[in-house]
């Protein structure tokens, strides 16, 4: 187990290096600089800016400097907001995004797993069909369609919840719900499929045959294996939540990392975009490792190598 974790951690380095290199060259070789968009900058001022950010150095030197700094999580000042360090922006934005994403994930698991278990236990009943139809609808309605619709109903018609801004607990409800819905649905479908698979197996029949109450069969024996697909889905789910947070933060004016990234992309804020992308890549890799370990811990049949 320890060897496995170490090996995976060692893989982080080349992977992050490849991503960093890819991002760096993609950004630097792209047409247009970050200061070209500003109109009427005197030539001297532009040169001064380029010097300040080291953009006048040869590309190779810029690359080495970038890598050396990136190791220390130092991505330099933002191009658009020169008084702010990218590192600070990431720290600030991620706190908000993590809260949003964390709640969404929690909602997805706490709602999705029970729905899936119930649907599996009542397989082919009307309840099962209704739950799965709802789940499919939930998967199919994109969050950027759902978000405005929720705002329309709960903010603009019923006046129950604020339509935007990230202030106070009630302002969390709609963004979290918008982000979580697709994952509730997907987790429910995964749980159902996993439970159906497990409930067919011999050890469940044995458990029933030896007279265990159905409750124990389902919750102690079946559920532990039945949620395994959900556990391995948590990695992709986190990636999806990050992607979803880009639009959700836009719709609800949430000051998270996704918003910084999208705005940074529009502004050609090179340092900010690279910093955020690298940060999220590392974050997701760490998370995936965690998921793999959790999976092995839950399923003794899996051997980590």
């Amino acid at each position: 187990m320890t060897a496995f974790v170490l090996r995976r951690l060692l893989l982080f380095v080349p992977t992050l290096w490849v991503i960093a290199t890819l991002t760096f060259f993609m950004v630097r070789l792209a047409p247009g600089g970050p200061f070209n968009a500003e109109r009427d900058i005197p030539q001297a001022a532009r040169e001064q800016l380029m010097r300040q950010y080291g953009l006048d150095r040869p590309l190779g030197e810029q690359y080495v400097t970038f890598l050396a700094n990136a190791v220390r999580l130092d991505f330099g000042p933002s191009y658009k907001f020169p008084t702010r360090q990218v590192r600070e922006i990431i720290a600030e934005g991620f706190r908000v995004s993590a809260e949003l994403g964390g709640w969404a994930l929690l909602v997805a698991v706490l709602l999705g797993v029970p729905i899936g278990v119930i649907a599996a236990l009542r397989q082919n009943s009307a309840l099962d069909a209704a739950a799965m139809a709802a789940a499919l609808a939930g998967v199919s309605v994109p969050n950027f369609v759902l978000g405005p619709l929720l705002v329309l109903v709960f903010s603009l018609t019923l006046y129950w919840l604020p339509p935007a801004l990230w202030q106070g607990p009630e302002s969390r409800v709609l963004p979290v719900l918008t982000l979580a819905t697709a994952y509730v649905a997907y987790v429910a479908r995964l749980t159902r499929a996993g439970m159906l698979e497990v409930l067919r197996q011999d050890f469940i029949r044995t458990a029933r045959a030896k007279g265990l109450p159905e409750r124990r069969v389902v919750f102690q024996h079946a559920l532990k294996l039945g949620v395994l697909p959900v556990v391995s889905y948590l990695g992709p789910a986190a990636a999806g939540l990050i992607m979803g947070s880009l639009v959700v933060e836009q719709i609800f004016a949430v000051p998270g990392l996704g918003r910084y990234l999208v705005n940074g992309a529009f502004n050609r804020d090179y340092t900010l975009v690279m910093g955020v992308v690298l940060f999220y890549a590392g974050f997701l890799m760490a998370l995936n490792l965690l998921v793999d370990v959790a999976y092995a811990w839950l399923d003794p049949r899996v051997e980590l190598r």
Binding site: P14, M26, V141, V145, P148, Y186, A193, Q250, A265, V277
Partner: protein, 303 residues
């Protein structure tokens, strides 16, 4: 006594009742009986026809024709989905938006299909160091949330439709490569491959003429599920303003535009959103149906 008496089948093939059903006819029969996949397929056919023939439909308004005096109006007999702030017919705009959305979905999928199948087949067939290297590349790309790559490509290069195709296709092939590689790994052990090799077939011909056609089932299923994924990503990007650029409009652009005037003209979000959601739903239904039809044993992925 022959050398391999145990290899003889217990039932002679010619005693089986009726003609043998091939995988495809069997799958077709199962698919036709699917109560959601068939309507989904009809719906998709309808939407595609509408999108394809939109310029020649005489009843359809010009999606770009403005009527500023009319402005935004509720849905009516004259304008089924209402009109937008500029008095443009929202139904026509949704139909023309579908043209872009479906086109991006299909082309993006095609790009990912070509890359994914080739990559996976070569890696799986070659095995060894090359396989290891190719799959490591896939792992690395997997670690990067693909939307970032798309955003980077679109922002730093250009926001043309062509770039959108390429960018979306470039990030969607990873799963396909893994699926095909897994299939190839097991297929290349089978006797028909050995037979082909014994007959002197070259490696490329073994891979692309003998092995790849046998991976078609999972590939079709995954392709059907990739189309809505690409459509969704395009809409997502267009919503953020990074995708299709005006005056062209996809469903994502329409939802994005509508969301800005949500409080006043809610139907401008509702209809494009509905068109997009129903299309995605239909693709997912069809994909599920195809999976059940083509691979009835495989229940692991049926979530």
């Amino acid at each position: 006594m022959s050398a391999l008496p145990l290899a003889r089948p217990a039932v002679e093939p010619d005693t089986a009742p009726g003609p043998p059903a091939s995988l495809w006819s069997d799958a077709w029969r199962r698919l036709r009986r699917n109560r959601v996949a068939v309507p989904a397929a009809f719906f998709l056919a309808f939407v595609s026809m509408l999108a394809l023939f939109a310029p020649w439909l005489s009843g359809l308004a010009d999606p770009a024709a403005q009527d500023l005096r009319l402005g935004a109006t509720w849905p009516s007999v004259a304008h089924w989905f209402g009109t937008d702030e500029l008095g443009r017919d929202a139904f026509a705009r949704v139909v023309y938006g579908g043209r872009i959305s479906l086109l991006v979905g299909l082309v993006g999928t095609l790009v990912s299909l070509v890359i994914g199948v080739s990559w996976g087949a070569v890696a799986g067939y070659a095995g060894g160091k090359l396989d290891e290297l190719m799959m490591r590349v896939v792992d690395v790309l997997y670690a990067l949330p693909n939307i970032f790559l798309v955003i980077l490509l679109l922002v730093f290069f250009s926001r043309s439709l062509l770039m959108l195709f390429v960018a979306l296709g470039l990030v969607q092939w990873l799963t396909m490569a893994r699926i095909v590689r897994g299939q190839v790994l097991s297929l290349k052990q089978q006797t028909f491959v050995e037979a082909a090799r014994a007959l002197g077939a070259t490696d490329p011909s073994i891979v692309f003429r003998h092995i790849v056609p046998n991976t078609l089932g999972p590939v079709i299923v995954y392709t059907t599920l990739t189309v809505p994924a690409v459509i969704l990503q395009e809409a997502f990007l267009s919503f953020l303003g990074l995708g299709v650029q005006p005056p062209a409009a996809s469903w994502g652009t329409l939802v994005s535009d509508g969301a800005r005037v949500l409080a006043l003209f809610p139907w401008l979000v509702l209809f494009p959103g509905l068109a997009l959601s129903l299309t995605l739903l239909a693709f997912n239904f069809l994909g599920d149906g195809l999976r059940d039809a083509l691979d009835p044993q495989d229940r692991r992925e049926s979530a």
